[in-house]
């Protein structure tokens, strides 16, 4: 209980600081660079969540333990939510920085693909009724999808120039944002925020998978009593 209160306070402080902390002047971005404290950690969280989802998927394939599947879906749901948050915040920011909501920048494309993959993942799950089959097939799909994602890293630079801060083609020369040249305040707050988001993920993930497992147990119990 105590650690949740502390986590709440911690995130509240980070959120407040994100607006007020002096970050120095960054050419081409200015105050808009403050999005880094929210947007990048959301993206980070969704990637971790998807990765954990895949790991539990692989674990399910080996163990055939339905709890592993529940954990896998729970993590995918959280990942999807934060992937969506990343897309929306990024898109609003892009409107002000690049002039339009969507530019097919490499990173916009990658996040879009992640949304598509996990959109397809949930559609696949809803199209299968048998629990074991649902769990197996969605785990296999998430692995197949996951192994193709890294290809974007190699493909994007060949095909499109990047607009996103930190990409090679960044026209305004802001260069990689997360470097050790970054303003020290900014760097500390950024990493603190990453840590905070990771903890938030662990908390939601734990809560979500626990409640789903309990739900299953209760349903099983009701079923057994009806049987007897």
């Amino acid at each position: 209980m105590l650690w949740k209160i502390l986590l709440g306070l911690y995130i509240a402080i980070i959120t407040a600081l994100a607006f007020v902390i002096p970050i120095g002047f960054i050419p081409g971005l200015g105050e808009r660079a403050r999005i880094i404290f929210l947007h990048v950690p959301s993206a980070w969280l969704s990637v971790i969540a998807f990765f954990v989802s895949m790991l539990y998927g692989i674990r399910y394939l080996r163990s055939k333990n339905i709890y592993d599947d529940i954990k896998s879906v729970s993590s995918a749901e959280i990942g999807f939510l934060f992937c969506f948050i990343t897309t929306v915040t990024g898109s609003i920011w892009a409107k002000f920085n690049w002039g339009s909501f969507w530019n097919w920048d490499p990173r916009e494309t990658s996040i879009f693909v992640l949304l598509l993959i996990y959109g397809a993942y949930f559609v696949l799950r809803s199209a299968i009724e048998v629990e074991e089959r649902k769990a197996t097939l969605s785990a296999v799909y998430s692995v197949i999808a996951f192994v193709t994602v890294p290809f974007f890293i190699f493909i994007m630079p060949r095909i499109m120039p990047g607009l996103h801060p930190g990409s090679k083609g960044d026209p305004e020369g802001a260069g990689p944002v997360v470097t050790f040249k970054m303003d020290p305040n900014m760097r500390i707050l950024f990493f603190a925020s990453l840590l905070g988001f990771t903890l938030v993920y662990l908390w939601i993930f734990n809560l979500r998978s626990k409640s789903e497992i309990l739900k299953l147990k209760i349903e099983n119990k009701i079923y057994q009593e009806v049987q007897n």
């Binding site: 394939l61 598509l116 299968i128 097939l137 197949i144 999808a145 193709t148 974007f152 060949r158 095909i159």
Partner: protein, 221 residues
């Protein structure tokens, strides 16, 4: 092992030639799609770059209407057990993969001929780049669609699910091949596209290895 894979391939090929479930429908599908492009662009000057993109739209959707058949027909007719009791899962996978290679090569050949005949502005300058892109693209397309076909064959809404699941997985491949086709129209030399070739080859290799490792889980419950 190899002869068993070949036997599965021959069985599917013979079955297809005899029933023509996929072939006839695919043939008409390509004709319809290309006519659709022609109608919607009638009287306009369409650039070669745009046509290269549209070429892969035709290829993608044709593949999506034909490549799932090898698995879906086994599942629908209940012949899955026949194969499950006759050989190892990996043999079935590679047999079906081989069949889909054959199908996509036939399909691509037909689409490209139809395309070259009907689209005036589609002039390929570097034929080697174009051809290699088409062949490696076809291999990549078949490898990803084969495993996804095996997945959707077990689901309820097979038809609509197939492109939905395949598209995000195929996107890196399609972006590369579209770009390669555009380069071939612009007259790029073969050596300029070595990077693309590396991506295409490693994409297929990664997908086939992952599929091989995961197929057992899909094939038997």
């Amino acid at each position: 092992m190899l002869s068993s894979i070949w036997a599965i391939f021959l069985k599917d090929l013979k079955s297809e030639l005899r029933t023509r479930y996929a072939l006839n429908a695919l043939f008409m599908f390509v004709v319809v799609t290309i006519s659709m492009i022609l109608f919607s662009t009638a009287g306009e000057v369409v650039s070669g770059t745009l046509l290269s993109g549209l070429l892969w739209v035709v290829i993608f959707f044709s593949a999506m209407s034909g490549l799932s058949r090898t698995f879906v027909s086994e599942e629908d007719r209940g012949t899955v057990i026949f194969l499950q009791l006759a050989t190892r899962p990996s043999v079935v996978y590679f047999g079906k993969l081989l069949f889909n290679f054959a199908l996509i090569f036939g399909l691509n050949l037909f689409i490209v001929i139809a395309y070259l005949l009907t689209m005036e502005n589609f002039k390929v300058k570097s034929f080697d780049v174009f051809l290699v892109g088409l062949i490696l693209g076809g291999i990549g397309l078949a490898s990803a669609s084969t495993i996804i076909a095996a997945i959707i064959a077990k689901a309820n809404t097979k038809g609509t699910l197939y492109p939905v699941l395949s598209f995000p997985v195929l996107l890196p491949l399609l972006m590369t091949t579209i770009n390669m086709t555009q380069l071939s129209i612009e007259g790029a030399t073969f050596s300029e596209t070595i990077g693309h070739l590396r991506i295409l080859i490693s994409y297929s290799a990664v997908v086939i290895i992952a599929s091989y490792l995961l197929f057992d889980y899909i094939w038997k419950e």
